[in-house]
């Protein structure tokens, strides 16, 4: 006869409510882990999109995501001619804010040259850019539809294709423009400013500037050697893809990552305390029954089993419900929540251990209950 099961059945409403409360707490823990994973994933997705082996940026800079980098537009041709380089593509990055259909729209604009590295690999809908100007590929998270016109700077851009899962490390959805359009958007002065500069005798600023050149190394060639070759030029810095990803995770999103990590640990600690209190209270409610069981000759293992089985049931139900809630709600979060099976399994294990440890207080109380309490009248 399973006493834990019968006790749960007897207090089913209260037990399920307790599990629901616990599931919300554990769902929160799981969502924090998911947000952390999503943050890293989003940060990396943009750097991985060009499928580059290395990045060439302004000398002394840590690449286009960690610091501003400006290099001449013709750098690409020089890099492409290096031994071991298969392909190279110029690329620009900038954040813009515009209004679309009466709503604020924050976008992360990537300028690239179609046919060269830097653009998206595949589209969720529509087609790639074919015209020489004013076309745009937008991520579905922008809320833009195919054929929609978006005002950026002084020009309207037509959405011809949709990508999926392309966001910046700040969470803004990505749009792709042709390199020249993106360069003009980023570097061209507004007419009043340009006129003032002309009056002052300042030569007109060129717009053939890019933020980085992404490089794919030829099969069999060494990326390390190409990196070393580029570094010999004093005005450029070359970073491997792994180095770029390390900068992104260890530098760009590091504080957010640590903040979320710390918050997750705090939440888990709070959960442990709450679980311990719940189990202790549940045991307190059963002191007389425990005393009766002891008096009629039940061994300690029967009573410990009762408490531990209830703790484990609470852990399993609370975690499963929490995981279900978060998997249903994750797509409604403003930023990506990435739930990975390994994280869920590790958290499930942690919750089981926490519940077992937390039940220790209840077990200790139960073992201290004197059988004479049952005879107390």
């Amino acid at each position: 006869m399973n006493l834990a099961l019968r006790d749960i059945r007897h207090n089913l409403g209260r037990f399920l409510l307790t599990c629901l409360g616990l599931s919300l707490l554990l769902g929160l823990v799981l969502s924090m882990i998911g947000i952390y994973r999503g943050l890293v994933q989003e940060a990396l997705s943009l750097s991985r999109a060009p499928r580059a082996d290395m990045w060439v940026v302004e000398a002394g800079k840590h690449g286009p995501f960690a610091e501003p980098s400006r290099i001449p537009g013709d750098t690409r041709e020089v890099i492409a001619s290096l031994f071991g380089v298969a392909e190279a593509g110029s690329i620009t990055y900038q954040s813009v804010e515009t209004r679309q259909a009466g709503r604020k729209l924050r976008l992360y604009v990537v300028g690239y040259e179609p046919g060269r590295p830097g653009g998206p690999e595949r589209l969720a809908a529509g087609r790639f850019m074919t015209r020489s100007h004013y076309e745009m590929l937008a991520d579905v998270k922008t809320g833009l539809g195919l054929g929609e016109q978006v005002r950026l700077g002084r020009n309207n851009f037509n959405v011809v294709g949709l990508t999926q899962g392309q966001v910046s490390s700040g969470g803004d959805p990505v749009v792709y423009l042709r390199l020249q359009d993106a360069q003009r958007l980023q570097f061209e002065l507004e007419p009043p400013v340009a006129r003032r500069e002309a009056e002052r005798g300042t030569p007109p600023a060129g717009t053939d500037i890019v933020n980085a050149v992404v490089v794919r190394v030829a099969p069999g060639a060494s990326a390390g050697r190409v990196v070393e070759a580029v570094r010999r030029w004093k005005h450029l810095t070359a970073l491997s893809q792994a180095g770029q990803e390390e900068i992104l995770t260890k530098s760009v999103v590091d504080k957010a990552r640590r903040q979320i990590g710390l918050f997750t640990v705090i939440l888990l600690s709070v959960s442990a305390v709450i679980i311990a209190l719940i189990l202790y209270t549940m045991t307190m409610d059963k002191v007389r029954e425990i005393a009766t069981l002891k008096l009629i000759g039940a061994p300690d293992r029967t009573i410990i089993g009762l408490i531990i089985q209830e703790a484990l049931a609470m852990a399993v139900i609370g975690f499963s419900l929490g995981a279900l809630l978060i998997s249903l709600a994750k797509d409604h979060f403003p930023r990506r929540v990435l739930l990975q099976p390994t994280d869920a399994l590790v958290l499930a294990g942690v919750v089981l251990v926490v519940c077992l440890l937390a039940s220790g207080m209840g077990v200790r109380l139960a073992l201290k209950v004197e059988p004479s309490v049952a005879l107390g009248g």
Binding site: M1, H10, R288, T292, I296, G297, T302, L375
Partner: protein, 255 residues
């Protein structure tokens, strides 16, 4: 009543003493108490509050170690200046049945399960435990309520189930702590009749701790405790006096 001299007592207590505390705070809860309860007997343990009834009951139940004396239960010497049995829990499980004032049925088990659980703890299979539980509930004429939860049982029904639970492992000693205190006269009489039936049919010794004057005339023998001592047979107060003493003590009338 058979001749006690020719029988071995199921509960045999010799010079049992128990004190709590030391020095100025020392309290003598039991002072050299000796008593015997024989098979088939239903005996009452009476006395005012604080007289040592609960201490004596706890000592017989092997949940409170006496300070000195000798205690034998169902032919086994369990205490002789120290506990002699290693597994007192098992002794309780096998030899003693308990009946409580408020029945103490486990609220999360139905009537049948409340009886069967004792058998399963003792090692019986689920099937055998259920069969025995049904048999006992039937014996106590409460088998028609076997699926009912304790909260759905009347006071009398709950106490019958509690008696069935006490009998589950065929114990030869039944300790009942105020079994009729929560019942009216009629139901109290029924419970006492059942205890009498159990003592007769099962060959058990039933020791009832009570304040309840309604049942004073139902005992084969009464032990009266006062200040930790058993009153000598010739000093045993009349039933009316016991009742008055108990009432006044319970109400705090006598210091």
């Amino acid at each position: 009543m058979a001749d006690n001299a020719s029988r071995q007592p199921l509960v045999d207590i010799r010079d049992l003493s128990k004190h709590f505390g030391q020095g100025e705070t020392r309290v003598e809860a039991l002072r050299e108490v000796s008593l015997q309860v024989y098979t088939g007997q239903v005996v009452g343990l009476l006395g005012p509050s604080g007289s040592g009834k609960s201490t004596l009951l706890n000592a017989i139940a092997c949940i409170l170690e006496p300070s000195s004396g000798w205690l034998q239960l169902d032919g086994q010497v369990v205490y002789d200046g120290k506990w002699l049995q290693k597994d007192l829990r098992r002794l309780r499980l096998d030899c003693i049945g308990f009946i409580f004032q408020f029945h103490n049925l486990l609220p999360f088990l139905n009537a049948l399960e409340n009886v069967a659980v004792v058998l399963e703890i003792a090692g019986a299979t689920s099937q055998k435990a259920k069969e025995r539980a049904v048999e006992l509930l039937s014996y106590l004429q409460v088998d028609h309520r076997q699926g009912a939860m304790p909260s759905r049982l009347s006071g009398g029904e709950a106490q019958r189930v509690a008696i069935a639970r006490a009998l589950a492992n065929h114990p030869r000693i039944i300790l009942a702590d105020e079994p009729t205190a929560a019942l009216d006269s009629q139901r109290a009489g029924v419970v006492m009749d059942l205890l009498r039936k159990v003592a007769r049919d099962q060959g058990a010794a039933v020791l009832v701790v009570t304040h309840d004057e309604k049942i004073f005339d139902r005992f084969d023998h009464m032990f009266y405790l006062r200040d930790g001592r058993l009153a000598a047979p010739d000093q045993l107060p009349s039933q009316r006096a016991v009742s008055l003493d108990v009432d006044l003590q319970t109400q705090g009338g006598i210091p």
